[in-house]
C-alpha cells in the first residue's frame, strides 16, 4: 500500500468510531459528588499576635547583631605571651643556661 493511501485510510478511520457506552449510573455519581463535596477548608491562618511576636524577635536579633558588629573589638591580649613576659621568659632565651 502506498504511503498516501495508508495516511488517507488512517485519517478516514476518524469517521468509523462508534460511540462508546457511558458507564451506568452517571447521574447517581454526579448527585453523590454534589452531596459529598465539602467546601474547601479555609487555609490555616497564623494568629496575628504570633506574627507580631516573630517580627519583633527577628528585629531584636537584627539589632543585636548590628550592635555586636559595630562595637570595637577588645584589644587582643595574647594570654601565653603576657605570662611569659611577666615571668621574664622569652622564646629567644628558651635554651639559655645563664639562669
Amino acid at each position: 500500500m502506498s504511503k498516501e493511501k495508508w495516511i488517507e485510510d488512517i485519517l478516514q478511520t476518524s469517521r468509523h468510531i462508534q460511540p462508546a457506552p457511558v458507564r451506568p449510573f452517571l447521574a447517581t455519581r454526579v448527585e453523590a459528588v454534589l452531596r459529598n463535596k465539602v467546601q474547601p477548608a479555609s487555609p490555616a491562618r497564623l494568629p496575628l499576635r504570633w506574627v507580631y511576636v516573630s517580627a519583633a524577635a527577628m528585629a531584636a536579633l537584627l539589632v543585636l547583631n548590628v550592635l555586636a558588629w559595630k562595637r570595637p573589638a577588645p584589644e587582643k591580649q595574647p594570654g601565653i605571651q603576657s605570662v611569659m613576659q611577666e615571668y621574664g621568659w622569652s622564646n629567644q632565651r628558651f635554651y639559655a643556661t645563664d639562669f
Binding site: 504511503k3 468510531i17 458507564r23
Partner: protein
C-alpha cells in the same frame, strides 16, 4: 434558563439526554476511559452548580461541549506538567520524557478490523496542538458543523476551517513519519 435546584428528576433527565455525547467527545479528546468518566462527571457537576452560565445564546449541547472541551484541555495540560516534573520522568531516556504519543489507546467503540489504524490515528492526534486536536475531534469524530465548532471554541467559521486544514496537514506529516514502510 436552566435550574435544577428543586428538581432532581429534571437533572437526571438532562444528564441522560446529554451524557453520551459529552462522554464520547471527552473520551476522543483525552484518550483515557477513567479520565473521560471523571471529566464528564465534573461537567455535569458544574452545570448543576452554575446553570445560569447558559444564557440561551447557543444550544445547550454547544455550551456543554464548551465546558467539556475546556476541562479536557485543562486536564491534559495538568497531566503534561505533572509528567514533566515527575521524578520518574528524569530517568527516562533523553527525548522520551515529553513524548505525548507514549502509550496506546484502544477506543471501546472501534471494530476489531479498524483497531490498529485507529490506534495510530490517536497516537498522531496526541501530537497536534490543543486547538487543532479539539477541532478535529469535534468535526471528524463527532460530526459537528463548522458553525457549531465555532460556537463551541468561540471562533469564526473561517478560523475553524483554517484550524481543520492545518490539523489535516499536520496529521499527514505526523503519519508520514509513522508509516510502517519507513521502518
Amino acid at each position: 434558563m436552566l435550574n435544577f435546584d428543586h428538581d432532581a428528576a429534571a437533572f437526571r433527565d438532562f444528564i441522560a439526554m446529554h451524557q453520551e455525547r459529552v462522554y464520547n467527545a471527552v473520551l476522543n479528546r483525552v484518550q483515557d476511559i477513567a479520565d473521560a468518566e471523571e471529566i464528564t462527571q465534573d461537567v455535569f457537576v458544574d452545570v448543576y452548580r452554575n446553570p445560569g452560565a447558559w444564557r440561551g445564546e447557543a444550544a445547550v449541547s454547544t455550551w456543554l461541549y464548551r465546558i467539556a472541551m475546556n476541562k479536557c484541555v485543562d486536564h491534559l495540560r495538568k497531566k503534561q506538567r505533572r509528567n514533566r516534573w515527575s521524578i520518574s520522568g528524569w530517568f527516562k531516556p533523553v527525548g522520551e520524557e515529553d513524548d505525548p504519543a507514549a502509550g496506546d489507546f484502544f477506543h471501546p467503540g472501534i471494530a476489531a478490523e479498524n483497531r490498529e489504524k485507529t490506534t495510530v490515528l490517536f497516537k498522531a492526534l496526541k501530537r497536534l496542538p490543543h486547538n487543532q486536536h479539539t477541532a478535529w475531534v469535534l468535526h471528524e469524530m463527532d460530526g459537528r458543523s463548522y458553525k457549531e465548532i465555532g460556537d463551541i471554541m468561540q471562533l469564526s467559521v473561517s478560523s475553524v476551517e483554517s484550524l481543520l486544514f492545518r490539523a489535516r496537514q499536520n496529521l499527514k506529516k505526523i503519519l508520514s513519519a509513522l508509516y510502517p514502510g519507513n521502518l
